[in-house]
């Protein structure tokens, strides 16, 4: 009986043994899952956003003038984005005009009209802002802007690595080189590594009252004029991959050129972060503090007292039709004028006469070193025959501009005034104050 039981026990025993052998052949132990770390996301803290500052900005001094903003070169911004800045400029008494309509000129035949439009606007402008041009400035356009700055016009150059732009061709003429990088700081920033904080300012009008500004996406800018706002020392350049006190705002070769490597700080609502609004205000002060010289090539915009009419003085009464042509031309260019019987030394004036009338304006001729007798003598050209010629002279007194136009005959004078009003006279200029016109038709 026992033997039979043992035999029958063999089956489960063998089954268990086989199972265990198989089990231990395949399994050496179980998986003991290590505890997963407690992530505790609620403990995550992020750097808090900077407090918005509604800063009471100092009122800007009232001035008159014109800021022209470039919109001829497919500029990569909108008027709405610039409204904070243009409002500040307007509040200071300046007019703001955009030249161009933000679209590129695709038709080559339109290049010259575009150039003429820019030239005309710069003749009027006290300040010029070039912001993110996508189409590079031509050599001629850049030379025009150079001439504007040479006369004392203020130039604001704004770049931004986050937007397409081609500004360096123009900027380099003024000693400014926007670098093809962006600046970042992974530890000291305004909620993002590319949003750098600027606290290091050179004492200056442009940095007055600034403690901290935030630039959303700025490149570094190198300039012969030196920087005025610097990133903190542990800020890096994306290209150089080195740390350094990179400049984000700099003067050009002269104090008439200011270069800024970020556009977004002046865009609402970024203009309300930290001291950004104060910086916009300071730039508006700078732009409206232009001491630009308006010279003979800028006719008729050297007449600065726009509120008062320009007196048109005639050397002889039979020159009335030429005087009326001048009056009409000035009116068309936004300069009110009137025919006046006598000279008022407090009034901007234009004198139209023949060489025979030169005695009436002798003081202006002498001041300019000119002589009219049998021949026309100028500091540049001596002994020029009077026949078929006309001359232009601008005398800029302390509070008054006097333009003198003399010619040998009424016909030559009419032709000279026509050239004056059409702008062709600029080809006749010997200097920024003097021009001589040779009436070819009369000679023949």
């Amino acid at each position: 009986m026992v033997a039979r039981l043992v035999i029958f026990a063999l089956l489960p025993t063998a089954a268990v043994v086989a199972f265990l052998i198989a089990f231990f052949a395949f399994y050496r132990g179980g998986y003991d899952a290590p505890p997963s770390p407690d992530l505790a996301f609620e403990q995550i803290t992020t750097s808090s956003a900077p407090s918005r500052i509604t800063q009471e900005l100092p009122p800007g001094p009232a001035r008159s003038g014109l800021l022209v903003v470039d919109a001829q070169h497919s500029n990569a911004f909108t008027e709405n984005e610039l409204v904070s800045f243009t409002s500040q400029v307007s509040d200071r008494g300046f007019e703001v005009e955009f030249v161009g309509d933000f679209t590129p000129v695709l038709d080559p035949s339109q290049l010259q009209p575009r150039f003429n439009q820019l030239a005309d606007k710069l003749r009027q402008a006290d300040s010029f802002a070039v912001i993110l041009p996508q189409v590079p400035y031509s050599q001629a356009e850049a030379a025009l802007v150079e001439g504007f700055v040479r006369k004392g016009g203020k130039l604001l150059l704004v770049s931004d690595p986050g937007r397409p732009q081609s500004i360096n061709g123009l900027a380099k003429r003024f000693g400014v080189d926007f670098q093809a990088d962006y600046l970042y700081n992974t530890t000291d920033n305004d909620t993002n590594f590319k949003r750098i904080l600027i606290r290091d300012f050179q004492p200056d009008q442009i940095t007055a009252g600034l403690e901290t500004i935030t630039l959303e996406y700025a490149s570094s800018v190198q300039s012969s004029g030196g920087g005025v706002a610097f990133a903190s020392p542990n800020t890096r350049s994306s290209v150089l991959e080195t740390v350094g006190a990179f400049s984000t705002m700099a003067w050009g070769e002269s104090r008439n050129v200011l270069a800024i490597s970020d556009f977004t700080f002046m865009v609402p609502s970024n203009d309300s972060l930290l001291d950004n609004g104060r910086l916009v205000s300071n730039i508006a002060d700078y732009i409206t503090d232009s001491q630009r010289d308006f010279l003979l090539p800028d006719f008729p915009y050297f007449y600065s007292n726009a509120a008062e009419k320009v007196d048109i003085l005639l050397g002889q009464s039979d020159l009335l039709s030429v005087g009326l042509d001048m009056k009409t031309g000035l009116t068309r260019r936004g300069t009110p004028s009137q025919i006046s019987p006598s000279e008022d030394l407090s009034q901007d004036s234009v004198f139209l006469g023949l060489y025979a009338d030169s005695g009436q304006v002798d003081q202006y001729l002498q001041t300019a070193g000119m002589r009219v007798d049998d021949t026309l003598g100028t500091p540049f050209v001596t002994e020029l025959g009077l026949e078929g010629t006309a001359m232009y002279l601008l005398d800029q007194g302390q509070d008054r501009d006097m333009l003198v136009i003399l010619a040998d005959t009424p016909e030559t004078l009419a032709s000279a005034v026509g050239r004056m009003l059409s702008g062709e006279f600029r080809g006749d200029l010997l200097s920024d104050f003097l021009g001589v016109y040779k009436f070819v038709g009369a000679v023949q």
């Binding site: 063998a14 089954a15 899952a33 996301f41 750097s47």
Partner: protein, 346 residues
Amino acid sequence: MGLFSTIGDILTNRYFAAVFLAAVGVAVGLVVFFYAFPGKPKIGVIDIPYTVISEDSTFVITEYLDYARREDSIKAVVIRLTSPGGGAAASERLYIETRRLREEKPVVLVMNGLVASGGYMMSMGASHTFAQTSSLVGSVGVVSFSDPLIPPLPDESALSTGPYKLAGFDRQEWFSTVEELKESFAHIVISERGDKLRLSKEELTEARIYSGLQGVKLGLVDEFGGDGDAFAKAADLAGVSSYGLVDVNLEVFKKFFRELQDIVGSSERGAMSPEVVAMFGRNYTGEAPDLQNLQAGPDSSMESFTLLQRLAMYGRLGVDQVDPLPDFPMELNHPNFYYLYVGNGR
């Protein structure tokens, strides 16, 4: 009679009976082991070739992970991953699901080629990671796209109940949200890697891509190795010495295929039931899909195959997202936060 008598004598012989019963016992034991419990251990293999993580791909990968977790015979899982990452929420979901699987079975992940950003986040859910020296890993960071600095104003015909009902948040909050997601990503990596990580948080969140060689040195990856190392490690962690492999992708596909056949009906191969016709809606052309052809996967059938797959997995959800609200006059924008390695920085 003589033969039966002889057999009877043998069966009643106690020596023979002992051997016979022992053999039966062994057979029973082995049958129980292999076919009932616990069975021959298997390592599930999930292949994720170059995949940008999206809602769709996450749904499929989650199916793989879920299958591997539920299948008792699978004692460990090896994931072969190549991904530049993708959507932030989708990537985080893959991390959570992988981590959930890890809490039941060891998960060994092989970083092939590129495992960056959201892909790297998913790998943080694994028990152990391998990379080749030439793999590219890391990119711990966020990419997002906002409205212009001055967003366009909503049309006067749009009436909403709060200043942020349409946009969700302002630009400053958008910056903060992106920063929060970055912190969250870094927090996951730092928590999961623990003392192995030899990068500071600042270094980690520079979002650099590292070679596998650097990745191991810096503690972003556990070891150098490939599939064989991964299987060995998975077996070791699971405590199994001999194992078979299960192609989880294929098993899930088979499962899907069986479900599809159930939907289509078996009486006439390829004939679609009225329910399926209704599901296809306007996309249905009237022609029954050739399932055999779909399985073979000629390019011409891939579009309809994808549609079928979506229908089977989602039902009708998501199929008509091209024009989800026909009368809604505004363009719908998807959430746009990504854990994604773009490659050129733009």
